[in-house]
């Protein structure tokens, strides 16, 4: 076993949260499809949800869930490829599938047992049959005998869950007789007795009825007529009828959540219609889900942390003033408050920060399983698991990471034979590496496989109509084509990747986090996918500088050195924007010019701050250097979000605002400028 049972359960729980989110998204997507049709990205969204659940489920060996989802996914795939057109009945079936997947996920999360219980399996059977019917096409024409949707005769499939009361034998009733009678008004397709409910001999009380079963029932009778069968014993039975059918009727039936049954089983037996919105069902499930952890809107925590940041700043002021008064009692109180404030700040930050290691360890299993499936030998190296990340980012990065890893193993790494032929170590290596890269978090997935094939990618993109044949693209642009929706270089669709769904999700998810993803690849040496994500909230070490009247903070980790922009350098520049720093070219950016920050103070002395990001470096021309500074990063307000080159702000002890420079953005700006101005200079800028 790769995972201990405990770890597996932990992983399944993590999967549960993720899956429930996906299922909610799926439901929303389906609702939209029903209203607006499959256009836009709607069908893709639903498909992706199913695909991801199948994928993650597969990693955790939730076989039953995977099998079930696989069929649903197939049908969705046919629909999005316009091979099958979606009908309202189909959408309804998908709703049922979604609910059923949810039940399965919850079941797995609560039980370490690998196999779902019988009633769930019966349900799966029904739904899979329905889906298969749709997949076989021509639903209308050759409605097969076992077609689940309502046909002309009004035959429906029902799932009947029955639990008889223990006293039923003493009333002279035999549950078997009711089941026999059922077959007179329809067909008992299958019956599953919950034998676990019957104890062993030692604990058996033979006069108590222990019969509990799930019946797959097919009949043209109405729900009330079926319920009538059990009229005799309506007080001594817990009955749940679920139809696997279309439209309105199903809604009524489906909505009978357990709570309803408990409260009013007799009501179920007698009443004509039970109209409760679907939401009731969902709400109940959600409340169960949340019992172990509390989900809080991240905005609320943002506000809290912002407020605490304000307090830290205000407190700095108080401390300063108190020290002037020189009252020992006051000083003591002030320092007590400071200490507590520090603790509050730390705990508030902790709410959101988690080590990425938990997520990473999940990948061990994934890599293990995929390598088995593919018959490739893979060594996984993980480093930087202790890197702390915002919880929301960790959650959202998990999907894209899974996709990248799967793609790397499936498409990147060669088979053992190929590797031997190439003289490589027959074991492929996959490196997962996370690190703080000054104000950002970088996660790298590196494989030592065959690398990206530029030609093949370009050809495929042309084929798919993503680019035109005569377009001239740089290597980077070609690599980026694999992030286009619907792009897939695999000639055959494998179970692992190659449906062309993964990589566009990767980019979408990362961009949604205001991050970037880059690819480095060398033929036959391998590829590296680098995701860079912003630390939206954190306290970083900054380097405080001043240009004109404006303070700027540069993330300290990016700062390499500071040098004076001496007359010598100035002379050498000849009006160009670069200098020769120890025999290598250092492009420069004049912060004052770039941000047009006033033109007062007739330039005293200028300094160059050499910064490094993603292996490249450049210099920022600033005026005053104020040195290291603990920076509480605060997001810019909405109206300033669009400003390029500024990633956030912070408040200084004096109450002034300092802007945090977005080095990656400025770096891009410089690279673009250089590419524009000169032909080959950009390459020389590269360091190491």
């Amino acid at each position: 076993m790769f995972f201990s049972d405990e770890q597996l359960l932990e992983a399944v729980k993590e999967f549960k949260d993720e899956a429930l989110d996906l299922l909610n998204g799926m439901e929303e997507g389906l609702l939209e499809i029903r209203e607006f049709g499959i256009g836009g990205d709607r069908i893709n969204a639903v498909f992706r949800a199913a695909h991801t659940i199948k994928g993650s489920g597969g990693m955790l060996k939730l076989t039953h869930l995977v099998e079930f989802t696989h069929i649903a996914e197939n049908l969705l795939d046919e629909i999005r490829n316009n091979k099958i057109s979606i009908t309202d009945n189909m959408i309804d079936t998908f709703f049922l599938c979604k609910d059923h997947m949810q039940s399965l996920v919850l079941f797995y999360a609560q039980n370490s047992k690998k196999e779902p219980d019988d009633s769930l399996k019966t349900m799966s059977g029904f739904l899979m049959e329905t889906l298969q019917t749709y997949l076989n096409g021509s639903v209308k024409i050759n409605a097969p005998k076992k077609k689940i949707t309502k046909n002309q005769e009004g035959v429906q499939y029902w799932q009947i869950d029955i639990m008889f009361s223990k006293e039923i034998y003493s009333l002279g009733m035999d549950p078997a007789n009711f089941i026999r009678y059922l077959s007179k008004i329809g067909e008992v397709v299958k019956i599953q007795l919950n034998t676990e409910y019957i104890s062993d001999l030692e604990h058996l009380n033979p006069s108590e009825c222990l019969i509990e079963c799930t019946i797959a029932f097919r009949s043209s009778k109405s729900k009330d007529e079926i319920i009538e069968v059990f009229d005799f014993i309506e007080d001594d039975i817990e009955l749940k009828l679920t139809t696997l059918n279309d439209a309105q009727e199903e809604q009524n039936d489906e909505n009978q959540s357990e709570e309803e049954e408990e409260e009013s089983e007799s009501n179920l037996l007698s009443s004509q219609s039970i109209e409760k919105p679907i939401a009731v069902n969902n709400e109940k499930e959600t409340s169960i889900v949340n019992s172990s952890s509390l989900r809080v809107d991240s905005d609320k925590i943002d506000i809290l942390i912002n407020l605490i940041g304000e307090m830290v700043i205000a407190n700095a002021n108080v401390v300063q003033r108190a020290s002037l008064i020189e009252n020992s009692g006051l000083n003591e109180s002030v320092s007590a408050v400071s200490r507590m404030l520090e603790e509050i700040r730390e705990s508030a930050m902790k709410i959101r920060m988690v080590q990425i290691g938990e997520t990473f360890s999940k990948f061990k299993r994934i890599v293990h399983d995929i390598s088995k499936q593919l018959g490739k030998q893979v060594d996984l190296t993980i480093s930087g698991g202790e890197t702390e990340m915002d919880k929301t980012i960790v959650e959202k990065i998990s999907d894209p990471l899974v996709h990248i890893i799967r793609n790397a193993m499936d498409h990147g790494l060669e088979t053992t034979e190929e590797r031997i032929a190439k003289g490589k170590n027959q074991k492929g290596t996959l490196v997962l590496h996370a690190y703080h890269d000054a104000g950002t978090i970088a996660i790298e997935v590196t494989d030592d496989g065959k690398g990206l094939d530029e030609e093949k990618i370009f050809k495929k993109a042309v084929e798919r109509g993503i680019v035109s044949e005569d377009s001239k693209l740089t290597q980077k642009e070609i690599f980026n084509l694999i992030f286009e929706a619907g792009f897939s270089t695999a000639d055959t669709v494998t179970a692992i990747s190659g449906r062309g769904v993964g990589m566009d999700v990767v980019r979408r998810n990362i961009e949604a986090l205001r991050g970037t993803v880059d690819i480095k690849s060398t033929k036959d040496q391998g590829s590296t996918f680098i995701m860079r994500l912003p630390l939206t909230l954190a306290i970083i070490d900054g380097f405080l500088v001043k240009v004109g009247a404006t303070h700027f903070v540069i993330p300290l980790d990016m700062v390499l050195e500071c040098i004076e922009l001496s007359a010598r350098y100035r002379n050498e520049m000849h009006g160009n924007n670069y200098i020769n720093l120890r025999n290598s070219i250092l492009p420069l950016l004049n912060v004052r010019e770039h941000f047009s920050t006033g033109n007062d103070s007739e330039n005293l002395r200028e300094n160059i701050i050499v910064v490094q990001y993603a292996g490249m470096r450049f210099g920022l021309i600033v005026e005053e250097l104020h040195g290291e500074f603990q920076t509480v990063i605060k997001p810019l307000g909405k109206i300033f979000r669009q400003i390029r080159g500024i990633s956030g702000s912070t408040i200084l002890g004096s109450g002034e605002v300092a802007l945090i420079l977005d080095i990656p953005m400025l770096m891009n700006h410089i690279v673009a400028l250089q590419a524009h101005n000169e032909k080959g200079d950009a390459n020389e800028v590269k360091e190491n």
């Binding site: 035999d174 026999r180 019956i191 599953q192 007795l193 019957i198 030692e202 006069s207 009825c209």
Partner: protein
């Protein structure tokens, strides 16, 4: 009703295995099946069986599982076959016949 043959318990339940007879039958089983021996069920003579009787058979099987002994069904009457299939416990037969 219960005898020991070749180190196995051979059990022949009452011909009418229903709510009226199960109590005595189970009491009997509890008293007799003291050792972890394999169990052989002779169900050929059962002319009537209801759910109460049926669940005793399931309980016996669960007991055998718990004791890690085998449980074999020697033969069964159509009545027994009917209720076992009615409750869809085919594995009960397959595993033990």
């Amino acid at each position: 009703m219960i005898s020991i043959e070749d180190e196995s318990y051979v059990i022949s339940p009452p011909t009418e295995l229903n709510i009226h007879t199960v109590e005595d039958f189970v009491e009997n089983l509890k008293n007799e099946l003291v050792e972890d021996k394999d169990i052989i069920l002779n169900l050929a003579d059962i002319s009537e069986i209801d759910s109460a009787g049926f669940q005793v058979l399931v309980a016996l099987k669960n007991e055998a599982l718990k004791r890690s002994v085998s449980l074999k069904i020697n033969d069964m009457s159509p009545e027994v076959y009917e209720i076992i299939t009615l409750y869809g416990v085919h594995t009960f037969i397959e595993n033990n016949k």
